[in-house]
Symmetry: C2
Subunit: 434 residues, 2 copies
């Protein structure tokens, strides 16, 4: 190793960013690489999709998240492969060698072997996903408002969300609020009841990871908002313009996939066997077994919690792991005592249920309704990194929820983004399948 | 005519929106059609391109601009033709018949017969244009920061703006401010002086339509900001990756075309001869000569001002024309006295020159510097329609200008948008031409 060891962090999500933030009291050279130039606050993506927030409200340039300092480089590039023998990472535009490598590249949607479903559904993992869904939602309303064909209108105004985990539940609630407020206020020819939101879940209950009574409360609130819950109902097929679930063919112009995730394909790059969800098993210090120079964190790491189950893909897990790895690397570089084995401190989970409602499943406290919403809002706003964003988002939020007016809803056309709805016609496949 | 005459307004720009707003004290049915679902506040597009403002700051859904009311429909569709004989308009997805038709479809960039230059340049007429330019600007900085090839860096950091009218001047100033603030703060490997901004103008002076002394002041301020002015220099050729102007080959990854506009192709649709800039000549009441049912306004209309010159393509002109046409139509429908011939009341023009500087060419007052900037800001913010936006933008503005930190600068990748810079390499054509 040279005089200044080189730490390469792959991914500027919650995990990677935390490593970079904590790794400053050391002489290491630090390079953070992400394929985007921004860090995304994923837990609020559903608010972007439902046109409450704007992209800039929940994303911030990595360069700004990490104050410029000696030895820190931020690069925008895409990983193509990792060569552990020569300690180097191949990117689309360069190759970097490392002394320590931290992999936190996050997860993508998983379609349980039905990759053809990807093109037929919307997902909610990236800024692009959420913008695309918002675009579709607004276009569907415009086209429905302009159509006098009842069957076409019904199809355009039907939304199916597959998967009732936190992501699917939050989205369904946000869509329901959106259809009540925006539709009522601005589309004279559409009644709120015309918008059909169906939440399909293979398990017998929603929010499987959370307290059962809280989940029941959430289910009740969703139903109050007009969301149709189909529990115990695995999706059998996804068509263009609908799904088949529980033997029923549900027609819907917009199907949103929130049913499963799998890690980025890092196991192959690292030359190890992937675990469940393509995650990679790591040791007690979060390094790769047999290679103390490589750390895997966040959604990429398979770490078993105290209850014997794998840790969930939460921002809190990612951040705690990032902090831990920063400590381990600093100890190694500085030759000080290593920290004890990584242990996740579960501070609970929260799920937003739209306007003024949420559930909070905390270690010693179960909250629901307005109080839970307040807590949810404070925690999420408090975590948004800089003051500009915080004020912005508070303002947006207040506006959206108090005045019952959702945020700006402009459809910025993106060349090359094929939108069958833009033609105002049903896709041919729907006519076939209907 | 039936009981409720049908007024169809094409375009929700400043002109069309004003017609719709003013046309409410009448029993007319009103349909407003635009190919986008939003009204765009064009005078602030350069602030979007330079990453000071966000799309939602300067655009608002037409549905929200026009409060819902009996008899008003808002549609999103694209004009394909107009049949004056049958009084109908053909759109991509429908045909509407009208009793009164108002055409306010705005203008697009014009390339003086060199249509191949369109694909080689960025323009600044639409939200998409501005987003694309901002995307390019940020990518160019990222790629330059990551490159160690001095020639490639110089090329990436070179920006040419063609045309020193209000649009080109405002953009050049905004780019110069951006490169000073953002580059200095966040790109350790780029110095502000590395960014080269060249403003090329065929005429011997900038801002040809404005007071000469004010324009000289503006030119001086641009030079102070580091903008290179090439006056009296027509562009001879636009290459991929540069321009030839005044015999000089200026290499630049980003060329922005702000040199000319021409109206949407409405003359052909209306079956009349187009005037200069494809505008259509109209009568004293802004109706088409010989067809009192059709009105042409805004950038589409060729109207001669009191100085004998055609009225410029300004928001103020469009709005006054919209107001006039609303009055004429209401008088006709209600059978009241027609208003006198349209007369443009020139309240002056203003050009922003970036942080704390502008010029204001008012009928009895010439302002420059901070005072002009203050006036510019008040007028432009005051015109942004709703309170939500106004507060937002004021906040953004203060943040950008007082804290010298530009707004959020996230690069939202748009699938299908081909960006040679994303590959980190120079386009092949540049290697050929260089």
């Amino acid at each position: 190793m040279g005089s200044a060891p080189h730490v390469v962090v792959l991914g500027a999500g919650f995990a990677g960013l935390e490593v970079a933030r904590r790794l400053h009291r050391t002489r290491a050279q630090l390079t953070v690489v992400d394929r985007h130039n921004y860090h995304l606050f994923q837990p609020l993506l559903h608010e972007l999709a439902a046109a409450v927030l704007q992209p800039a409200d929940i994303a911030e340039a990595v360069r700004r998240e990490l104050a410029p300092r000696e030895g820190l480089s931020v690069l925008m590039d895409e990983v193509k492969g990792i060569d552990r023998a020569s300690r180097s990472v191949h990117f689309a535009h360069r190759t970097l060698s490392y002394d320590y490598l931290v992999v936190g590249l996050g997860a993508d949607s998983s379609y349980f072997g039905h990759d053809e479903w990807r093109a037929r559904t919307f997902s909610l993992k990236s800024l692009h996903d959420a913008s695309r869904l918002r675009h579709r939602l607004l276009l569907a309303l415009e086209n429905a408002a302009a159509s006098s064909d009842p069957a076409l209108r019904r199809w355009l105004l039907s939304f199916v969300v597959v998967g009732a985990g936190a992501s699917g539940v939050q989205l369904a609630a946000a869509l329901a609020d959106f259809s009540r407020t925006a539709v009522a206020a601005e589309y004279r020819s559409i009644a709120s009841e015309d918008v059909a939101i169906t939440l399909v879940e293979a398990l017998p209950r929603i929010l499987a990871g959370m307290d059962e009574r809280l989940a029941e409360d959430a289910a009740r609130r969703l139903r109050q908002k007009g969301v149709r819950l189909l529990l115990d109902t695995p999706v059998e097929d996804v068509l263009e313009g609908g799904v088949v679930a529980g033997g029923e063919h549900i027609e819907a112009a917009t199907v949103i996939w929130a049913a499963g995730v799998e890690a980025a394909p890092i196991a192959g790059w690292l030359g190890v066997e992937p675990g469940p969800g393509r995650r990679v098993e790591v040791g007690a210090d979060l390094s790769l077994p047999g290679d103390p120079a490589v750390f895997v964190i966040g959604d990429n790491a398979l770490v078993t919690g105290e209850d014997g189950k794998p840790l969930p893909g939460l921002a809190a897990v990612a951040k705690q792991q990032g902090r831990h790895v920063a400590r381990v690397i600093m100890s190694r570089i500085e030759g000080t005592a290593l920290p004890p084995a990584f242990r996740y401190r579960d501070r609970g989970a929260m799920v937003s249920l739209g306007r003024f409602a949420a559930i909070a499943d905390l270690p010693r406290l179960k909250l629901r309704g307005f109080l839970a919403w307040l807590l949810w809002a404070v925690v999420h706003l408090g975590t948004l990194v800089n003051a500009r964003q915080r004020l912005f988002v508070v303002w947006n939020w207040m506006w959206a929820h108090l005045a019952m007016k959702p945020g700006a809803r402009i459809i910025v056309s993106q060349e090359g983004m094929s939108e069958p709805l833009a033609s105002g016609e049903e896709p041919a496949s729907r006519r076939r399948s209907a």
